[in-house]
């Protein structure tokens, strides 16, 4: 078995080409962590051979990935076992470690809370929204008895009702029918017994109740003495905004803070 000496060409670490006596082709040699792979690359072109060799290495790497991963695991376990000699106790200062853990958690929590404040507060009404919430005035002399005016305050409709004398007379007779007669507020639920001032927002789910001052049988009440009817879910209120029994709305129509100055009504200031 003689011939020309086999030629080795180093390509990179663990990778080389070589030729064999009776083969016209280049052969590849790959060494990955001590594992050796050899095969004919089936080409006599050197550049081509180098290319194929590189591809082949990639293939081996990908295919061997799981096996390799296992190996790494095994060797890791081995290291673990060989390292079972305990670290001398004195070297780890557990008190200090614990103190550090606690302080860093506390500092972390305070930081998060601190950052949360501006972000959550940004959702509060802005200064402009607050300014728009200021009080409004209304001239009562324009309002006929039996009529209702709607004034906007804080974008909420405020119902101002000029009660007729008949309505005033009827109100006490409804004390039985309403859930909360609110006698302490006075018949018209204001300091002025001619004008009732209520928020036009149903206390059930915020619809606007409709004004029905007529004293006549209605679809929702045979014995209607005038008042407000909410079309959304059928809540009934009397002319002073007191809620009837057995309807979805739980409470009387709210009375906004208000005061009278002669013929002027100021809504928003008690």
């Amino acid at each position: 078995m003689q011939g020309k000496k086999a030629k080795h060409i180093h390509i990179s670490e663990g990778m080389s080409l070589y030729t064999r006596d009776r083969s016209p082709f280049y052969w590849g040699y790959i060494n990955i962590d001590g594992e050796v792979f050899k095969k004919s690359l089936k080409t006599d072109d050197k550049d081509e051979a180098i290319k194929l060799l590189t591809l082949w290495k990639d293939e081996i790497l990908v295919e061997g990935k799981k096996v390799l991963a296992q190996k790494i695991n095994v060797s890791a376990k081995k290291t673990l076992i060989s390292n079972t000699k305990p670290i001398p106790k004195e070297k780890v200062n557990t008190t200090r470690r614990k103190a550090l853990q606690i302080t860093s958690s506390v500092v972390g929590a305070v930081t998060v809370a601190g950052f949360a404040v501006p972000f959550l507060s940004a959702w509060q009404p802005s200064e402009r929204a607050k300014a728009l919430g200021a009080s409004v005035k209304y001239d009562l002399s324009k309002l006929e008895p039996g009529a209702m005016a709607v004034v906007e305050w804080r974008r909420t409709p405020i119902f101002i009702v000029h009660q007729t004398s008949e309505a005033i007379k009827n109100l006490p007779s409804l004390n039985q029918k309403v859930a909360n007669p609110a006698l302490e507020e006075g018949v018209s639920r204001t300091t002025n017994d001619k004008f009732s001032v209520v928020k036009g927002v149903c206390t059930h789910l915020s619809c606007a109740p409709k004004y029905h001052p007529e004293i006549e049988p209605k679809a929702w009440d045979e014995d209607w003495k005038g008042g407000f009817f909410c079309p959304c879910h059928g809540s009934k209120f009397d002319l002073a905004g007191r809620v009837y029994k057995n309807v979805p709305a739980p409470t009387n129509l709210e009375v906004p803070p208000h005061s009278f100055e002669g013929d002027t009504l100021i809504i928003g200031e008690a």
Binding site: T54, L55, D58, E59, L61, V62, W123, Q124, P125, S126, A129, G133, V150, E152, R154, R155, T156, P157, G200, T203, H204, L205, S206, C207, A208, P231, C232, H233, G234, N246, V247, P248, P250, T251
Partner: protein
């Protein structure tokens, strides 16, 4: 071929693309026999994509201010080329999303898809339902129409009904003493960024959790039991090409129906976009009848059915309604722990499970119908009965699933 491989292996060594594609797509085993109920998840993904893409395009023309919102939606509808298509695809997409979601979940109830070890898959799904409900609500406010405004008012005042903190909580959410432009712009941010991001994250969790434990089937057979030499379950098929191509006809049919609605009935007769919403929001004028879009109707019915409170505990009817309404969604979260049955699928469960399913489905549909109608005494009574029937199947589930007689589940699909 060679260069592709080397590129792929170059990438794979740095980012495990092939491995994960095989794990979650190409080689992922799915049961070989499932029925049409198992297509809704794929369709949900399609709709999610429709929503994101049309949503981004709407966002290019939409104005998120109180003064500009309504006009900008009209501008989208009239002046932007194909703007109407974007908007109607988005609003119809919202309805489709819920439609598919309800079927997807009903499948889960029928076939016990929530059972061990798929509890987390179900939980993530429940969170997705919750987020979708929030997303749809936030989105419906954006066009700033009459119904946007007043329906939002109804829902926000529910927060106001919480004892003690309610009023300040409501003001905080609104950013004003009333529902206003401040509310609109924060809802916009939540609708286009926060909730969609959370939803994407949850969809990823939903799918990863599912692939960890394996998809189910209508028989409730465990396909992992028998495997061939390659590790593929005998009753399993690789996701690709079986499931991928299997879903294509369904997606095709879905698109046909979807676009038929988009073109011919985009408002769904007032159930997808309500009539008052073509009128700009007016603070001082409540619409005669406030109804939710169809997909919230069952839950709205439950809310309205509660006409009484617990006075001696200081609980108003409004707050109690809120609690029961919240419970109707919350109870879905604990279903995996309510079902004590040995079998998964309704096909092998006993008679009580079957009655319970019918009871639940009927009451859900009836509540949905009632929710879109104005109230009167009879409707309220029916809604109250249906509310009880909605809850009973769940409340009694630990009992009837434990004691009823079940059938033997076969070994193989």
């Amino acid at each position: 071929m060679a260069s592709k491989n080397s590129l792929m292996s170059w990438i794979d060594r740095r980012l495990p693309v092939t491995e994960n594609l095989e794990r979650h797509l190409t080689k992922h085993p799915v049961p070989s026999k499932v029925n049409f109920f198992y297509l809704f998840g794929a369709l949900l993904m399609v709709v999610f994509m429709i929503q994101v893409i049309t949503g981004i395009w709407l966002m290019m023309f939409y104005t998120n201010t109180e003064e500009g919102a309504f006009a900008s939606v009209e501008y989208i509808m009239r002046d932007v080329e194909y703007g109407w298509l974007m908007r109607y695809m988005h609003s119809t997409g919202a309805s489709a999303f819920f439609f598919l979601m309800y079927f997807h979940m009903f499948r889960g109830l029928l076939y016990g898809s929530y059972q061990k070890p798929k509890e987390l898959v179900w939980l993530f799904g429940c969170f997705l339902l919750f987020l979708l409900m929030a997303e749809g609500f936030l989105g419906y406010v954006l066009p700033w129409g009459q119904m946007s405004y007043w329906a939002a008012n109804v829902i926000l005042s529910l927060f106001g009904a919480i004892p003690f903190i309610g009023e300040s909580l409501q003001v905080w959410i609104q950013g004003d003493y009333v529902l206003s432009g401040a509310t609109l712009s924060r809802f916009f941010a939540l609708h286009v960024v926060v909730v969609p991001l959370l939803m994407i994250a949850l969809v990823v969790f939903h799918i990863f959790a599912l692939h960890e434990v394996g998809a189910g089937n209508p028989e409730g057979v465990d396909i992992e039991k028998y495997r061939d030499k390659t590790g593929m379950p005998l009753d399993g098929k690789p996701f690709h090409p079986y499931k991928t191509f299997g879903a294509l006809p369904a997606i095709g049919i879905f698109f046909i129906v979807f676009f038929a609605i988009v073109y011919y009935a985009p408002t769904g007769g007032g159930y997808f976009i309500e009539k008052p919403n073509f009128e700009e929001a007016n603070f001082l004028k409540t619409p005669e009848h406030i109804a939710p879009v169809w997909y919230y109707a069952p839950f709205y019915s439950i809310l309205r059915a509660v006409t009484f409170g617990i006075p001696f505990l200081g609980i108003t009817s409004k707050f109690l309604g809120f609690i029961i309404f919240a419970a109707s969604i919350a109870i879905l979260f604990i279903v995996p722990w309510l079902d004590r049955s040995k079998v998964q699928s309704i096909r092998y469960k006993g008679i009580f499970s079957k009655i319970a399913m019918i009871m639940f489905a009927t009451s859900f549909i009836t509540l949905g119908y009632l929710g879109t109608k104005p109230v009167n005494e009879i409707r309220t009574l029916i809604a109250q009965i249906c509310t009880i029937f909605y809850f009973l199947p769940f409340i009694l589930m630990p009992i009837y699933t434990k004691y009823e007689k079940t059938l033997e589940v076969p070994d193989r699909l």
